[in-house]
């Protein structure tokens, strides 16, 4: 067959072969890239539908419920009749504490925490959690709208990132507010020379809230990080293939 074809010269034939190879590679490259882009976009969207809204709503509701129903502090102290312990709730703090010494301790500034803080702190923290619920709801709504409207994946990522940034900040705000109770330990140790008795104080709810706040901020940050890594790998994979393709062509493979 080759002998029948009127081949002009050797270089011409080589050029033709190279063009054919190149076009074949290009076709393959394009189809593969299209497929991978589609897959990665789907993955990205799947990850983003990744329940961040639901997670924020659920964790906030659970935290608010626990905050108002769960015990905040466990205090063990030495009374006249022996050691006594008390669980203090935010709503019933005034009726829960029977010991005068503890009331005096919490009334003064020795620990940096007053009786009023146990009532005010849940209110401040709940504002943060309500903000998280609102963010979660907005994000959930955005996801629902996206299902019908189908925003471009890049727009979706940036909006998700912005929501994640806000939720991260709110999470840190909750942690910092709750740190007041953890800081009271340090202040207690610093002012211990002023205190006559040594109660054992364990903050239950503040620790749980700090854990929740940490989870919120961690999850939000990880979402930003995941999207960043996805976008980076997407970009670099395309650039890498591009460069490989380029090099292979230049080598005349």
């Amino acid at each position: 067959m080759e002998s029948k074809l009127p081949v002009d010269n050797k270089s011409d034939e080589l050029i033709k072969q190279k063009i054919l190879e190149e076009s074949f590679r290009k076709a393959n490259f394009k189809t593969e890239n299209d497929k991978k882009n589609k897959k990665s976009e789907e993955k990205l969207k799947k990850r983003s539908t990744s329940k961040i809204g639901i997670f924020l709503i659920v964790i906030s509701i659970v935290s608010i419920i626990l905050m108002y129903l769960g015990p905040w502090v466990f205090i063990q102290y030495n009374a006249d009749y022996g050691s006594d312990s008390v669980l203090i709730f935010s709503n019933t703090i005034n009726s829960d504490i029977n010991s005068k010494d503890i009331i005096d301790l919490l009334s003064t500034n020795y620990m940096g925490v007053s009786l009023g803080d146990f009532q005010n702190a849940p209110y401040q923290i709940s504002i943060g959690f309500f903000a998280l619920i609102i963010i979660g709801l907005i994000f959930f709504m955005f996801q629902v709208i996206d299902k019908f409207k189908k925003f471009p994946s890049e727009t979706f990522i940036i909006i998700t990132n912005l929501f994640a940034v806000i939720s991260f900040m709110v999470g840190i705000y909750i942690i910092v507010i709750t740190m007041k109770f953890i800081g009271s330990y340090f202040l207690f140790l610093q002012n211990i020379h002023l205190i006559d008795f040594y109660p054992i104080i364990v903050y239950i709810m503040p620790f749980l809230i700090i854990i929740n706040g940490f989870l919120v901020s961690k999850y939000s940050y990880s979402i930003i990080k995941i999207y960043y890594n996805q976008l980076k790998s997407k970009k670099h994979s395309s650039e890498g293939k591009y460069s490989f393709f380029k090099s292979s062509i230049s080598e005349g493979r």
Partner: protein, 417 residues
């Protein structure tokens, strides 16, 4: 942008966030000042939350400045997070404007954290000047608690600086333009990239491609049309040549007929002795002419078949080559070759099946050579060639794509492909 710089930015953002949060938490946890209350004659330590409860005006001022520091820390956190969003959007390639804004806001984190450091150091000196107020120290050690958050802020400043250093080159690469122009540019860039590949591969002149890229669609169309027209012209010329040859042959036939008729008439006039030769002459002439015309017809059919088979495939490839911009050189070479072909008649390649017994003997004698050539991946093929001049068949060793052949019988030269 390298992969390293992306990682550097991400890493610096991560460390900045972690260190700033630790600094913020340590600032809110640790006791910062010790206040000597002269009324009760006692030293009492205070943290950021308990300072508010004191009535001392100096401490109130200190608490206000601490609040400002906290706000600045929050601002720096927000800025660096927006910077993170900015680098993500920069990777998208779609929101260059937004990404540039976010990345620029990210730089403010460094500014705000530097302000925090200077502000806290200023407050430290202020507290030392205050009466009844001291910075709280860690037990008997001379180290103050306030040094811990400041240390974290200084560390985060380093990472903020790394972020700023890594981000500044990005601003040089970002080009914010209207959408329409951008789209056009993107298309042009893509086309340029494609042409670059081809240029690198085929080593064609870049200038030609740049010219082609300016009006890609128009030039391509023109090229295709021109190619098609050229081919049409060539085929028309070929047909004309064939027709001319046929006309010449017809003229010859007429002339021969006329000559023969006149001769016959003369001979009729001279006497009817030559009558038996008349038919022979006519027959011989007619036979020769018919054979020649048949040969010409068969050659025409063969040529047409070859061109029909090859053209469909060759047209596609040749147009592709011409599109790539290197057609000028090729066209010139093709024209030269065509001219050569016109001057030199094509030697015909005969397949082994159609060879005579004598040829087969020759083939057998050259069998050893053929085997060797087949072993050497048929680099040098031995082919049988019939001379178009003397019509003698002889074997030739074909080297490469083209081999020049000289007939051993008549000395006619040609090219085997």
């Amino acid at each position: 942008m390298d992969n390293l710089s992306y990682n550097e930015i991400r890493g610096s953002i991560g460390w900045f966030i972690i260190l700033t949060i630790i600094g913020l938490i340590s600032l809110s946890i640790l006791p910062l000042v010790t206040y000597y209350d002269p009324s009760i004659n006692l030293e009492l330590s205070h943290n950021i939350f308990s300072i508010d409860s004191t009535m001392d005006s100096n401490l109130q001022f200190f608490s206000n400045s601490l609040k400002n520091i906290v706000y600045l820390i929050w601002a720096s956190l927000a800025f660096i997070l927006l910077g993170f969003v900015g680098i993500s959007s920069y990777l998208c390639d779609r929101f260059q404007k937004i990404s540039s804004i976010f990345l620029f806001l990210g730089i403010f984190s460094l500014i705000s954290i530097v302000i925090v450091i200077f502000y806290s150091i200023f407050n430290m000196f202020n507290v030392n000047d205050m009466s009844n107020v001291e910075l709280a120290s860690i037990g008997p050690l001379p180290i103050k608690y306030i040094y811990i958050p400041i240390l974290f802020f200084i560390l985060s400043t380093i990472f903020g600086g790394i972020y700023t250093k890594s981000v500044i080159p990005i601003f040089k690469t970002i080009k914010i333009k209207p959408k329409k122009e951008k789209n056009k540019e993107e298309i042009e860039e893509e086309n340029n990239d494609e042409s670059e590949f081809i240029n690198e591969d085929l080593k064609f002149d870049e200038k030609q491609d740049v010219k082609n890229d300016d009006d890609i669609v128009d030039v391509d169309d023109k090229d295709e049309i021109e190619d098609w027209l050229n081919k049409q012209v060539i085929s028309a010329e070929k047909e004309e040549d064939v027709e001319e040859e046929n006309d010449d042959e017809d003229d010859l036939l007429k002339e021969i007929k006329e000559v023969s008729d006149s001769e016959i008439d003369d001979k009729k006039d001279n006497g009817k002795k030559l009558s038996p030769f008349k038919n022979k002459i006519n027959k011989d002439v007619e036979e020769d002419i018919s054979i020649e015309s048949q040969e010409l017809e068969t050659e025409k059919i063969d040529d047409k078949k070859d061109t029909e088979i090859s053209n469909s495939f060759e047209e596609a490839l040749s147009t592709a080559i011409k599109k790539r911009g290197g057609n000028k050189e090729l066209d010139q070479s093709n024209l030269e070759i065509k001219k050569e072909e016109k001057n030199i008649q094509k030697p015909e390649i005969i397949e082994e099946k159609n060879l005579n017994e004598e040829d087969k003997k020759d083939v057998k004698s050259n069998g050893e050579i053929k085997e060797k050539t087949s072993e050497n991946e048929t680099k040098n093929k031995i082919i049988k060639v019939r001379c178009p001049e003397c019509k003698e068949i002889f074997s030739v060793e074909k080297k490469g794509m083209e081999t020049k052949i000289k007939c051993p019988h008549c000395g006619k030269e040609g090219v085997a492909k």
